[in-house]
Symmetry: C2
Subunit: 272 residues, 2 copies
DNA sequence: CCAAAAGTGTTCCCACTACACCCATGT
DNA sequence: ACATGGGTGTAGTGGGAACACTTTTGG
């Protein structure tokens, strides 16, 4: 059962924004952020969620800061729920970024922030906490595309789901973060119950088939794919069908959680 | 060719220690550390390097802080070279730890530090930079056990190579870090040229066979193991043998770097 | 000659691949 | 009836697992 809550937002008024800029250093750890690569699936395409902040040209991954007394994983969940209203997401840490030039040199960051935060009428100086060098912990999330309701924050001018094959240049090193997330997702595809979070509870074989093709960027034989998924025991066929218009009704399947967990334990897990 | 350099040390005098405690916050990013799990192989056992700091009962993983203008990967290499004198190590980031109680609550840390730094005669207050909440980025390293020369820092009372099956309770959440490192190592064993860094340049089949058994904690059939390694193309048999006393002389093998790289590119890489 | 360790080949089975025709449904 | 998409089985192949005897060497 997936639970959907409506949660409290983050910065949805000019006052909250100014408070964030002026007092954020009292609330958040400096030098550390979290960036989330949110994968969604729709229309046979694998997409990611991008945000564009006020005054910036480039798109960004949704991200945020860690509170002083907050666990890292908890922070990732909070940040994501602030952007998507989804909780109980599948969320996986995959790498911490601290090498690219943008993460060593703070000039561009200061510049960017000044544009983004122009709405607040508060200048971000070189000494300001937001101008600090910041390392970023990358998490990827998997969401059921149709259940996500994006409620942009005050600072977010625009958001978009974009196909992973048509991702524009992003701010900072976010393209690099995305690339690594995608690599990780692909390598973990058969070890984690990936589809569980990208598909509705009941789905058809063609649906999960297309999903795997979209994620891995290649094609699979229908018959062999079904055999493999059943042999691995990650999905189970139901005795129901779905009506899909003027065509034969496909069977419905569900993820077999008991078996999936066994598969997970067997495959040692971690990758790079 | 592996290169061994002697590098500059870190804290090898009371003066440097006091300087570190008093002025470290000017040199290092706060709230962030790096911990390294150094795997070494000897006597058919997989071991890790542990340090014990002055005044502490428990053992620690070698670790350190990131300089303000230093890349994260560079910091990991620097920290490790300060402890082992080895450079050009295989070093792999595997997870960032920020959830366990010790990483949320700074009391114990302050307490520990006061014992450890007693040598310096400088009290670590609750406001001191070393008492801050600290997240840690985990790296694991693989070293050729016989080439490592440990030169303990001033603060390090003792060091030890301990079998991974006999690891005592460590400080902070270091046992958790070790567990995750080991999981990662195991899952990446056939994708990375792991053995390259744990064995001498030329090695016998029984040697690499025992290494794999030690890492994975289970046994493999000699004949099948050889077939698999040769089929994967990661090792190549030489026309030399090694004298090993009153027994048949085993052939020597080397890693086939050309082929290993191909294998690496093929296998998507990342895991967690 | 003996003890200890290394070298080597075959069989079996399962998992993955390739491949094409029939069925169901709504218009 | 037909167009569209879904469902299904078989044969071949290659890689992994199981398995035991012979050879080398120094003492």
């Amino acid at each position: 059962m997936r639970l959907l809550y409506t949660i409290n937002f983050f910065m949805n008024s000019p006052e909250e924004l100014v408070d964030f800029i002026q007092h954020g250093h009292q609330r958040y750890l400096p030098h550390l952020s979290i960036d989330c690569v949110v994968f969604g699936y729709h229309d046979q395409q694998l997409k990611i969620l991008l945000l564009r902040y006020h005054g910036q040209e480039n798109w960004n991954l949704p991200g945020g800061y860690v509170e002083w007394q907050e666990g890292l994983t908890a922070a990732a969940h909070r940040i994501l729920s602030e952007k998507t209203q989804l909780v109980n997401l599948f969320l996986q840490q995959f790498y911490t970024f601290g090498d690219s030039p943008i993460r060593l040199n703070r000039i561009d960051i200061q510049n960017n922030h000044n544009k983004a935060f122009a709405k607040a009428n508060v200048a971000i100086t070189e000494q300001h906490w937001l101008s600090n060098r910041t390392l970023s912990v990358g998490y990827y999330a998997l969401v059921d595309y149709q259940e996500v309701t994006i409620t942009p924050e005050y600072l977010v001018d625009d958001y978009a789901w974009v196909d992973i094959n048509e991702v524009p240049p992003l701010s900072y090193d976010h393209n690099e973060i995305l690339d690594k997330a995608l690599l990780t997702l692909r390598s973990q595809l058969y070890q984690q119950s990936i589809g569980l979070n990208l598909l509705p509870e009941k789905f058809t074989l063609p649906e999960i088939h297309s999903l795997y093709e979209a994620i891995l960027g290649k094609q699979f034989d229908r018959r062999n794919f079904r055999k493999k998924m059943l042999a691995l025991g990650v999905i189970r066929q139901l005795d129901e069908r779905r009506k899909i218009g003027p065509h034969r009704s496909p069977f419905l399947y569900v993820f077999d959680l008991e078996n999936s967990n066994k598969v997970l334990e067997a495959g040692a897990g971690v990758a790079l």
